[in-house]
Structures are given as C-alpha cells and as structure tokens.
C-alpha cells in the first residue's frame, strides 16, 4: 500500500464547445495561451509531472470534443478516469446549464465504482471577459448541491487560478486513485473467504 511508485492519473475535461477546454489544458501544461486553437475533433491529451503533497504524479489530461453528438465515441476515453473537470464559460449561461448533463453523461459512460463520491471539479472559464453572465453565487449553489464540488473561476488567457484549479484536480485524482487501489486489494480477501466457504460447502455436499 505504502508503495512510492510513480502514479499515472487520468483527468478528463468536459464541457460545451468553445468554453476553453483546450486552452485550459495548454495553459496548465505548456504555460501558453493562443486564441487560435482549432475545434477539437476526436480527443487528445497532454501529460504533466507534478508534485502533490510530496508525491510525484503524472497527470494525463484528456481534452475532448465539445459537441454532444461525439460522445458516443467518448466511452473509450472516459474509462479509468480518476477525476473529471467540468468547464463552462462564465459569459454563456447555456454552457453552465449543460454541466448537469455532462456530469450525468460522464457517470453513465465511465461508470465509476462509487458514482456519488467520484471527484468532479468545476471551472468557470473566461473571467477576463467583461460580459459575465453566470454569477459566482449561482455556480457555487449548484456545486454545493452536487456534494460540494470544488469550484474555480479561471482565465486560461490570463492564467488566472489555472494552477490552483489543477492542484485541486490532481489531489482529488490521487485520492480517487488511492481509493480505487484500496478496492483492488479487497477482492483478495473476499476470494479467500469464498474459497473457504466453497471448501466447507463441498465438504458438506461430498455425499
């Protein structure tokens, strides 16, 4: 359990088209912003090594296409995720409303072991823009109702709060991974007991 082996954490970024998923990923990993990213087709990912509470981990951050019809192919990318980042555009209320369905869709497709406690982190992007339309209060209320999801207001363009958000994401992912590891060890014990039970049963039924 206390192994210090290098950990790979899989993070999936979801959200409507144009909210800035690619930009957030690139700002965090490459410390770069471009207003010229093409719309993502299919999926892509970047990796980054980070220190989380003294532990070196590799974040594998998956950027996906924002148009909902491409999600039927998303399953392959969702599997094995350790954290899911839900992104909306603070200037476009529709993209905030969509978070609910992105979250549901993810839970259905990825089917994590413990859906109620699967770590999501919510990011409101583009706070550098003037025309804000989703208030922090409204966003926080939604996050609170969803089992207190961490919420960050960021600007991928100006690198505002991006690192902070990803520290939380990495930590949540590491926690999730540790929990999953724990689960993986449980069956051994169960199997032993099953074998015992099977043995005693077969003894009973040997007639």
């Amino acid at each position: 359990m206390a192994s210090r082996k290098k950990v790979l954490l899989k993070v999936i970024i979801l959200g409507d088209s144009g909210v800035g998923k690619t930009s957030l990923m690139n700002q965090y990993v490459n410390k770069r912003f471009s207003s010229q990213y093409k719309a993502t087709i299919g999926a892509d990912f970047l990796t980054k090594e980070v220190l989380v509470d003294d532990r070196m981990v590799t974040l594998q951050i998956w950027d996906t296409a924002g148009q909902e019809r491409f999600q039927s192919l998303g399953v392959a990318f969702y599997r094995g995720a350790d954290c899911c980042v839900l992104v909306y555009d603070t200037t476009a209320p529709n993209t905030f409303k969509s978070l609910e369905s992105w979250r549901d869709e993810f839970l259905i497709q990825a089917s994590p072991r413990d859906p109620d406690n699967f770590p999501f982190v919510v990011i409101g992007n583009k706070i550098d823009l003037e025309n804000r339309a989703v208030t922090p209060k409204r966003a926080q209320a939604w996050c609170a109702a969803k089992n207190d999801l961490p919420h960050f207001e960021c600007s991928a363009k100006e690198a505002t709060k991006v690192d902070e958000a990803f520290v939380t994401i990495a930590r949540a992912a590491l926690q999730q991974e540790a929990d999953t590891e724990l689960y993986k060890e449980v069956p051994e014990r169960v199997d032993l007991r099953r074998n015992d039970a099977a043995r005693s049963n077969s003894g009973d039924c040997a007639c």
């Binding site: 010229q36 990213y37 093409k38 192919l73 392959a76």
Partner: protein, 499 residues
C-alpha cells in the same frame, strides 16, 4: 456457392426457447443469387457441416430485404435487429452479442445503400450491378431521394411465412466442399505480404487535359489519370463540379438565393423562437473563427459562416456539426463564387453526411471496415492493435470525419480529395487510412505503443505528412489487393471495388 459474410452467436427468440445460431450471406455461383440465412447451431460449430442441426432455420433472397430496425439495447444487454421484407413481412428478430449488429451493417453496405429514415430505422436500397462505365461516370451521385416515411416496422415478427422449415441438404454439401471460404472466417485468414509494389505518382492533370478527355467522352481514362496524379489548381474548380455531379442541380442560383433568404430574412424575434437554428448559428460562429485561424481574413470567415448557415437550412437533419467547417473552408478556397461553393459543398456533404449523423453509426462501420481491410493487408498490425486494446480503430476518427483534412495542409489536402473522388473503389479512404498506419507501423510496433501513444502519433501527424507519399502507398495497397488471387470477396465489397 460462397459465403460472403458470417456472424455467430445470433439468437432467435421466435420460438418459445431462444435458439443460438449463425447468420450468413451466401452467393450462389450459378445464379449469382444472394441469400441471407440463419441456421441454428445445436452443439459446437461443426454440427453445421455434419448436417444434423437443421431442424429449423430460414433464408431470404437478399433482394427481398427492404429495411431493418435496430432498437436500443434491451434488458439482457444483447442488441437485436428486425429485418423487414418488401412484401411487408418481417423475419424473426435477431439478437446479437457485442459488435454483431455493426458487423452485419457493414456487410449490408456491400449490397445496399443504407439510409436512416427514423430513429433506429434504416431503409436499404439495393446497389445496382456495375453499369456501363461511360454512363455511370458522372452519375454516381444522384440527387438525394426522399425516403418514404411510412411506418413499416414494428408490426411484430409474427409473420413466419418466410421461414422455411429446413435448409436443403445440397447447400450443406456445397459448404462442405468449400473449405477455403469457411477458413477465411475462422482461422488462417489470408494475408497480403508486407512488401508493397512500388507506385510512383503520375503528373498532374491540367485544365486542358481535363477538358480534352471530357469532350472526347473518355471519362474513365481521365478519372484514372486524376486518381494517379491529382489535378492542378487551375483544373480543380471545373473538375470537382463535374466529378460531384454539379450539373444535375437545376437552377442552382435561384435555389441558393431562396435558401439564403430563409435565414437572412428572419427577424430577431423569429430567431429567438427558433432554438435549433439559434444554437446552430452560435456553434458556427464559434467555429468559423478557429477553422483556419492563421490564414482566413474577416471576409473569408464571413463567407464560411454564410455557407454553413445556408447549409443548415438546406439539410435540417444534420444542420451544423463540428468538422463541417473544416470541409467547407477547402471548398471556399477553390470557388470564389458563393453559389458554386455552396452546391459543391452540398454535393460533397451528400457523400459524407453519414459521418455527421447523431448515431455515429457510419463512422463505427468505417472503423470495422478498416479493421477488416487491415487484417488482410497487415494482419500482424491488427493482432498488435488488439493486444494493445486499440483494435477498435478509434484513433482514426478525425481522418474519417473530415477526410484527412487536418492530416494535410490547405495546399496539400485537395490532392487527397482528387484521388478519393476519382478512385476506382468508392471506399478509397479506408486504404488511405491503412496507408498512414503503414507509414507509422514501425514506430508504433517497435515502440510497443499503447492506445494513448498511438493516438498521439496520429494527432501529431497534423499537417506533417507528405500527401503524395501517402497516396502512393494507398494506391500500392489497392494494386496489391486488386491483383492478389487470395483477396476475399468481403474485402473487395468493403472497399466497393469492382472486379
């Protein structure tokens, strides 16, 4: 007789007890008649050859199949298919394991044009036998026909009149006598050698060449020349119009203006009440500025937006889906005239619009088809991909969706589309995909790459490939497939390659 397609573990629930069986599509040598067959498998595969398992079963002439219905997953996790016949009867519903339905659909593609006419409901139109090349040349892209909306399915599968009690014994003998066709579907599938024939790309076809050949009626010859070498920039505008069947559009100008007026004439209030159009326009607005951000000026972005919005009105089932702007921008580059650009785009979309349907079934069928083709051209690679849990081919998604748009640059891409439009096999894009994988094969396999790394290799290729090299490789695969005596019919059918 030969077996064109087989799928095992197909359950039929028509009787009281579900029965497991095998479906196949067979072709009779003498009559060329093709049949769709389901027969039960009682115990183990080989009882089929022993001839003891034919208590029940059914067979149907492929020409009699008109539609199929594919409902959502049922409770047991199996998915089923209801096949409807021309006379209104339906075959018993067929229940499949994972991927089974997709495999049947891709097999059907060899014989039918499949059109989605409702939710989960597909109409099948028989592909006619190859016509005289001269007549069919500019006609392989007819105007979309309006599919009949009449509800023909769901009348239950109680009509068993079509089910024959037994499949005649002579068929069994025939199958027993043709071990080769069976072996293909089980083990020992034939594979091509990895040494590819060398293909050197031919010279470009210019405007004068093209016109001369067309005037002389030498359509097949000019298509072949373009396939081998591509078009010059000057020849392309006229040639693509011809190749895509632009001339079949009556009153393109008037029609275009009517379509355009339909969205331009909307008041702000009207648009407020039209959520679908409003949402589509908002998606378009987001995408046009980032389609080719380093290159397009404001006027070009405006044209792109107008073209896509007009298309939303023209094709309301698809509307706007991401990826379409990537295609449209290529066409806008070639046609300075908005009307030309719009109709060439619409004609182009007609060929690829399945890729943009909500169900994504067309894309999934292409993954399956590519997998099959690759299993023949490079079985080792398919086995490698399977071992790396990548045999689903998902990493090819952008290639199929926008026909290699992002693999090439805006200068080099049109040559790929030239070849695709003029290829002797309608699904040449599968061979282009196989060629790209061929190019990266060493890197992927020597490095023991897994799914993530393969995806990165594929994504990093963006704009970095030599399109002539890729096309030469794809042509070389085509030569190899066409010449090989061991090429299974299914491969030719998947590629839509005539003999």
């Amino acid at each position: 007789m030969r077996i064109i397609f087989e799928e095992e573990n197909v359950l039929v629930h028509g009787n009281a007890v579900p029965e497991s069986g095998r479906i196949s599509i067979i072709e009779h040598d003498s009559s060329q008649r093709r049949e769709f067959v389901w027969e039960p498998i009682a115990a183990g595969d080989w009882t089929f050859l022993g001839g003891s398992a034919f208590d029940t079963g059914f067979r149907q002439d492929l020409n009699d199949i008109s539609e199929y219905f594919k409902p959502k997953r049922n409770d047991s996790g199996l998915r089923y298919l209801v096949i409807k016949l021309r006379d209104g009867a339906t075959l018993p519903s067929l229940h499949f394991g994972p991927g089974g339905i997709e495999r049947v659909e891709s097999a059907f593609q060899a014989f039918f044009v499949i059109k989605e006419v409702g939710s989960g409901q597909y109409k099948l139109e028989l592909i006619e036998e190859p016509k005289d090349a001269r007549l069919s040349l500019w006609e392989d892209d007819p105007e979309p026909r309006i599919a009949s909306g009449r509800d023909v399915l769901n009348r239950g599968f109680g009509i068993f009149s079509k089910i024959t009690r037994a499949i005649s014994s002579n068929i069994q003998e025939e199958v027993a006598r043709s071990p080769i066709s069976r072996a293909f579907f089980n083990e020992g599938q034939p594979e091509l050698p990895l040494e590819r024939p060398v293909v050197i790309r031919a010279t470009l076809v210019d405007e004068d060449d093209f016109r001369d050949f067309v005037l002389a009626g030498r359509y097949k010859a000019i298509k072949e020349k373009i396939f081998r070498g591509g078009l010059t920039g000057g020849a392309r505008p006229f040639a693509w119009k011809q190749l895509l069947g632009y001339e079949s559009i009556k009153n393109p100008e008037e029609k275009y203006h009517t379509l355009r007026a339909q969205w331009e004439g909307l008041t702000a209030e009207q648009e407020e009440y039209c959520t679908i159009l409003r949402e589509r326009r908002s998606l378009i607005a987001k995408d046009v500025t980032r389609t080719d951000p380093h290159r397009l000026n404001a006027e070009q972005i405006q044209r792109l937006s107008e073209l896509l919005t007009t298309y939303c009105i023209y094709d309301q089932d698809i509307g706007y889906v991401q990826g379409m702007s990537d295609i449209a921008v290529v066409i806008l580059d070639i046609y300075p005239d908005d009307i030309d650009a719009f109709w060439v785009f619409a004609k182009f979309m007609y060929r690829v619009r399945g890729n943009f349907e909500r169900s994504q079934e067309a894309i999934k069928r292409q993954f399956e088809a590519l997998r099959r083709v690759l299993a023949f051209t490079d079985g080792e690679m398919v086995r490698f991909l399977d071992r790396k849990e990548s045999g689903h081919m998902y990493f090819c998604f952008p290639w199929f969706l926008i026909l290699f748009r992002r693999l090439a640059t805006h200068e080099t891409l049109p040559t790929i589309w030239d070849a695709w439009l003029c290829s002797p096999c309608a699904n040449f894009h599968l061979l282009i995909a196989a060629a790209v994988l061929d190019l990266k094969r060493k890197e992927i396999m020597n490095e023991e790459f897994g799914y993530c790394e393969i995806l990165q290799v594929v994504n990093r290729l963006s704009g970095n490939v030599d399109t002539d090299e890729i096309l030469a490789r794809a042509q070389s695969l085509l030569v190899q497939i066409s010449r090989s005596l061991s090429t299974p019919p299914i491969i030719k059918q998947l590629l839509n390659l005539s003999d």
